[in-house]
Symmetry: C2
Subunit: 347 residues, 2 copies
């Protein structure tokens, strides 16, 4: 029975990956040839210099000033200034696939020399030949094997080393930049602005928790212990005095949609007063923040820039923003229009 449960759990984690692959055939986001980015203007004393002087920027600054003013009617004690940010599509790009899938495929390629049999064995053959169509045909069982070899069966130390190496070298196929340079400069400024005002900033992402922790502390300045994500089960071994933790090919927790408030409660134990996302997968997290007794701020990043980044929302199979767009507008949540609100996208 345990085996059945593990396989069932893996199917859940793979479901997202399957959607990603399926989306190859479906609507692709708009991505036009990139123009030179506007030079970043740093204004003295402006905490968000990469943002144009738009309403959402004014609202963020007004909110932060209001809730950090001691004695003010909407003051929030520092201990309760919890801010939660989604990662994929909110702090860095996510097209044409979540970057973690590129990592998984790159890992298969990196491991291939030790597995000569993969040259003729699916789904590995398809990955090694960059044959996405064939990979799609392999369906969930194929992806299960890819996740198993790239994300499980090694110690947490070994996995971290794999991710660190990849993030320092791997380039995005169309943007021709390191993935870690496809982070959003304006959001980085927002994170630092909140931290400077004694907000405790957390990432709460559907991505793998240890995949993110391997680089996000350096890249975003968000400490490892403030990074929450999806988890695989894991096993401790005493290992004759050199203890290790091994990642197992079984889902522990899927940190998406309803899972986000549940993870926030589990990892943080406090409701956010500030929450930022970009998709329907973040809707429940924003609802949860919106129910805070303290004055709160909900922010949706809307991907509208087909030249500098990608343009997509309701019909995209990655980062779908459909219900969230309606509910957020109805509730007067704040929306970033990436094309018009941000002077630069990437650092």
């Amino acid at each position: 029975m345990e085996k059945i449960i593990k396989i069932r759990a893996l199917k859940i984690i793979l479901f997202a990956l399957c959607i990603l692959l399926a989306s190859c055939k479906k609507e692709a986001p708009k991505e036009e040839s990139p123009a030179k980015e506007t030079e970043q203007t740093v204004s003295n004393g402006d905490p968000l210099p990469s943002w144009n002087d738009v309403q959402v920027k004014k609202d963020i600054i007004a909110y932060v000033k209001e809730v950090t003013t001691t004695g003010g009617p909407n003051f929030i004690p520092a201990a309760d200034r919890i801010a939660t940010f989604d990662n994929d599509g909110t702090l860095w790009s996510e097209q044409p696939f979540y970057f973690q899938l590129f990592f998984a495929l790159d890992q298969v390629k990196a491991l291939a020399p030790k597995h000569p049999e993969w040259k003729t064995k699916q789904p590995f053959k398809a990955v090694l030949e960059n044959n996405m169509e064939e990979l799609m045909k392999q369906g969930k069982p194929g992806l299960l094997q890819i996740v198993a070899v790239s994300h499980a069966g090694m110690t947490t130390d070994a996995f971290e080393a794999d991710v660190k190496k990849w993030i320092s070298e791997a380039q995005h196929p169309s943007k021709k930049k390191l993935y870690k340079n496809l982070i959003y400069q304006p959001m980085l400024e927002l994170v630092k602005y909140l931290q400077a005002n004694q907000f405790k900033v957390f990432i709460v992402s559907g991505g793998g928790i240890d995949f993110m922790r391997a680089w996000a502390e350096d890249v975003y300045g968000i400490p490892k212990e403030n990074i929450v994500g999806s988890t695989l089960k894991a096993k401790y071994d005493y290992n004759n005095g050199a203890p290790s933790i091994t990642k197992l090919p079984a889902l522990d927790f899927n940190d998406d949609k309803d899972g986000k408030p549940v993870a926030i409660e589990k990892y943080i134990g406090k409701k956010p007063v500030f929450a930022a996302g970009n998709s329907d997968g973040d809707l429940q997290m924003l609802e949860w923040a919106a129910s805070n007794k303290y004055k709160n701020f909900e922010l949706y990043v809307h991907h509208t820039d087909s030249v500098r980044e990608w343009a997509y929302d309701r019909k995209s199979h990655i980062g779908t923003l459909d219900k969230g767009l309606d509910e957020g507008k109805a509730k007067n949540w704040s929306f970033v229009d990436m094309k018009n609100d941000w002077k630069v996208i990437f650092p």
Copy 2:
């Protein structure tokens, strides 16, 4: 199948409770009539005034000075100064049962007026009649029902309110003090000393995460998001715009023994450099800290004071310290001898 899994999971969480109840029949810890506690001496500039001037105190202070000295050979950057403390038996008492079990039994009594049928229905009848012998006879199925009514089926907000009320009122049966006053003053000083030296102090306990979070932030000064413990599964409901999270009667994670390093990796993502416990349930956490590349400190609290607290170790069914006693001595870990090393036990 799902039902079977839930029941199986609950059996695991109840296992500890069953051991507790079983221990009624077995060896009880030594608890002699309490004498007046020594007056606490606060020395100026002494970070641990409730500790006698013993070797373990000198070792702690020497360690903290060494690893926080910038430029020194064993300097640890602040971001990596992770300290993890067990709770039951390490930060507060745990005899004759874990205090969380007293909470569960008290909850049954508090809920009884709404359930007149409990007067004649086991296991509730046994609880209401304070008949521990009969309660033991009810075994795991009985305890399952007690946990279900006291820890699940309510929102996280409602549960927090229950615990806050209990912790502010409930008294220990033999010590005749509020449970929250049965914390160890010397350990509180140690927590504050580490925090003052930019250690990030976490609780990593087998106790329920939201049971502890309801009071430990106020009582210990450890923020909610730094409290790690066992978890039940939970469910998010949008609830027509008043969202809530409901605790479910199914184990999510058992944060004990092998589970402690796994939880540390999951919640913190970094190895501790300082770890403190009191039982074999903490052994793996201390091993994990001992494998840190940074200079590290492992501390066992040894319950040796039958007058002011309780005396127990190898043969106790709560807080058993047997393997840990041997392994810790062999590895030269530090041991607190509560009777001889601490001027006072409770604040």
